[in-house]
Symmetry: C2
Subunit: 451 residues, 2 copies
């Protein structure tokens, strides 16, 4: 055996997995709780799966006529078509004009990887990317590792406890011409129609390239059309853009890497050129994308009855989210927790800002073993009948204690951890949390200071 | 709408899909035949799936206790463990010493993508890669696009109609120190134990880094241990290496991207460092790999009875391959086709060299509509009872005609296509052939002259 290893100079890498999850895993407290899971959870604390998905999975497994051969590099054509129609509407002018297309990718990171590679090669005038802070760890690093300069921005104004539409308008005003603007959480950024028009006007004049991130169409308002309305408006206004479309969360197919990089261009000719380049990237990356998830989704979307079942299940999830948010707000009101908690119900979707400051969040983690990202952006589907009392009482405590910061400091330093209430359940599923709780602005691979 | 497109400078890319498949698709002849499919075919001309896979797919779909959440970035740990034990043996010293590990990847291209990225970053002394010609289009382009200098080599000696072990020995003799040697088709390169020892000795002295490509363990000899024997020998000799391990073909799970990048190091400490860097690459590429295929394979490998069923099915495939090769040779003998055809049965595995020259191959494509890569490396599982007569008669014709090249040229220029025999079936499955027939040395994205 040679004495020297080929790998002798390779250091241990900082893990992409944030420190919040690490702390959660290391915490032996029986009632520890993690509110930063990426996936939608059921009331029983399991990852949500649309019932029609389970049904289709069985049907597909029974079908002996199916061909499990490698797919085309571009992916399943029927899946791409169905996904595009879901996003833009069946009768979208851009679809009719054949200037919208997509490449079936391995999840949304795969879609961002494809898009970023393309922009690195073919958009060399500007290699500056603006990305919302909660997307930083997931997708910002893809751009960063490829050599782009990446800046974060956030719609959330922690002092006003609300989304601030001016943020993104100021970002594009200050951004160099030709910059790339990654827009996530499109349904919750509270821009009025007029503000969108203003934003688009600045973006057009400065040739800012939009890269949308649609991760859970339908799970925001419960209405699939409504959740992609702004995207359709961009198409109508003649924008060319990329969009990472993930269908994992709104179907509950998490581990099959179901994604799509959507490309909108001015003409079919441009579209074909862009897609041809993308195909070569995909060839190098994975050759052919996995199809099980895409097969299930295509079967559902191409059958009106199954599609109806799916839409119904999505609507139920949204109703539950709204209900749990109302309950959290109401419980805090009944506890007399100082402050207004309207911002909780003002926000849409599975994940929302809790609106706590860093001291309060630290209190929740250190004293109550409730793990929340440093920006307070939590998964509200992780709150359920079993833990809502513990969570709201803990928030109340955190707010009251931190009103007297001297007392707060004393308690943090000296007191043992408070005994946990009997009803708070232990969360068993830790896997997805590797990618969960990504709302923290300081999260980064090099720093490792994040969630 | 702005008048100028962001994409106005993006040209149409040369497709990775080779020209042989393109010609095949454009050919309207009812009896066209494609012998360059990448996947193993059944006697009925369908992609082969091990029956136990079909059974497990059903069982898994019925199991309501399963969790379909995102997996860890590294992938399914149980799958990685099972795959490593399959490759190195359950009691491998290197496994016991915790110096063998793997990252679950999206197929073998995903594994090569990970490995190449790592070597690009951490193996900067030499960025030269030697790769066998039939891997060029699939994996050579990954290195090439990343900036490596890529050279092709081939074990096959077309003049002697046999594998020439000296080729690879000459390659490593001439290669600069620290080069990367990609070794595919390990079971069929006909090196004796003594020649392997000699090769290893030169590789060690010149610090040549081995990157194995194990695509169909078991499908070569029918014996899983035998098919990875050389790899185990490299481990025993203290080599550090990477290995792309694909489990698609030997299970018949093609469209789920089931792969693994295997890492062998001198110590657990080095292994952990290497894997930690790999995880960051995987995070950027796809975040979490698809699991359906891995789930099926893990269930089979962890159950001795199911594993037995699977091994039996693999053995049957190999027996069929040997039988069909014998039949092709016998039919050519009965037809009195000039030349020796022993090389057909001397080669192992699904794909083997037919041993025809370029004129003969051109004759088969142009006159007989039998599509074969320019190096004559065909998928013998595509030959079956329905088409063997047409194929062997066509080979016989090709050999006879090209013995008089003047006559051959006349016929190629003047004569209409010969009527096809009634028994030759039409091949419907074209998808996988995007990646099929990759034996041609000239295949390249830029040139587009390949299969």
């Amino acid at each position: 055996m040679p004495s020297l290893s080929v790998f002798m100079d390779v250091p241990m890498a900082h893990k992409a997995e944030g420190s919040l999850l690490k702390s959660y895993k290391q915490d032996n407290h029986p009632n520890k709780m993690f509110l930063a899971y990426r996936v939608c959870m059921t009331e029983e604390g399991h990852p949500w799966v649309s019932p029609v998905v389970t049904k289709l999975r069985r049907q597909i497994a029974q079908d002996s006529s199916l061909n499990y051969e490698y797919t085309d590099v571009m992916g399943m054509k029927s899946f791409i078509q169905a996904a595009l129609e879901l996003l833009f509407g069946k009768h979208s002018q851009a679809i009719v004009e054949n200037r919208v297309g997509g490449v079936h990718s391995v999840g949304d990171n795969g879609a961002f990887q494809l898009g970023a590679r393309f922009l690195k090669t073919w958009h060399q005038d500007s290699q500056i990317v603006y990305i919302t802070s909660f997307q930083k760890e997931l997708h910002g690093l893809i751009f960063q590792d490829m050599g782009f300069t990446v800046y974060e921005y956030s719609f959330w104004d922690p002092t006003q406890m609300c989304m601030d539409p001016d943020t993104v308008i100021n970002v594009v005003k200050q951004a160099p011409c030709g910059s790339i603007l990654v827009i996530g959480n499109i349904t919750d950024c509270k821009l009025t129609q007029c503000q969108w028009t203003n934003l688009m006007s600045i973006m057009k004049s400065k040739q800012i390239f939009p890269f949308f991130d649609i991760t859970s169409q339908g799970l925001s308002s419960g209405d699939l059309c409504e959740d992609s309305r702004i995207l359709r408006y961009f198409v109508a206004q003649g924008f060319e853009f990329f969009c990472s479309q993930s269908l994992s969360k709104n179907f509950g197919i998490y581990d099959e890497g179901v994604g799509l990089l959507v490309v909108v261009t001015h003409s079919n000719q441009h579209l074909l050129c862009v897609l041809s380049q993308m195909i070569n990237f995909a060839h190098d990356l994975w050759l052919s994308p996995p199809t099980m998830g895409a097969r299930i989704i295509t079967s559902i979307l191409s059958n009106p009855s199954l599609q109806g079942e799916w839409k119904h299940s999505v609507k139920r999830v949204v109703e539950n989210i709204m209900l749990i948010k109302e309950k959290v707000k109401e419980k805090l009101r009944l506890l007399g927790t100082p402050g207004s908690w309207d911002h909780i119900t003002d926000q849409k979707g599975t994940h929302s800002y809790l609106g706590l400051n860093s001291q309060q969040l630290e209190y929740l983690v250190k004293k109550k073993h409730i793990y929340i990202p440093r920006n307070g952006w939590i998964n509200f589907t992780s709150v359920n009948a079993n833990n809502i009392d513990y969570i709201t009482q803990s928030i109340n405590e955190a707010v009251l204690f931190t009103m007297d910061s001297k007392k707060y400091l004393q308690i943090l330093t000296l007191a043992p951890a408070a005994p946990a209430p009997p009803r708070a359940p232990r969360m068993h599923r830790e896997l997805s949390a590797v990618k969960a709780g990504l709302g923290c602005e300081q999260v980064g691979r090099a720093g490792g200071a994040g969630v």
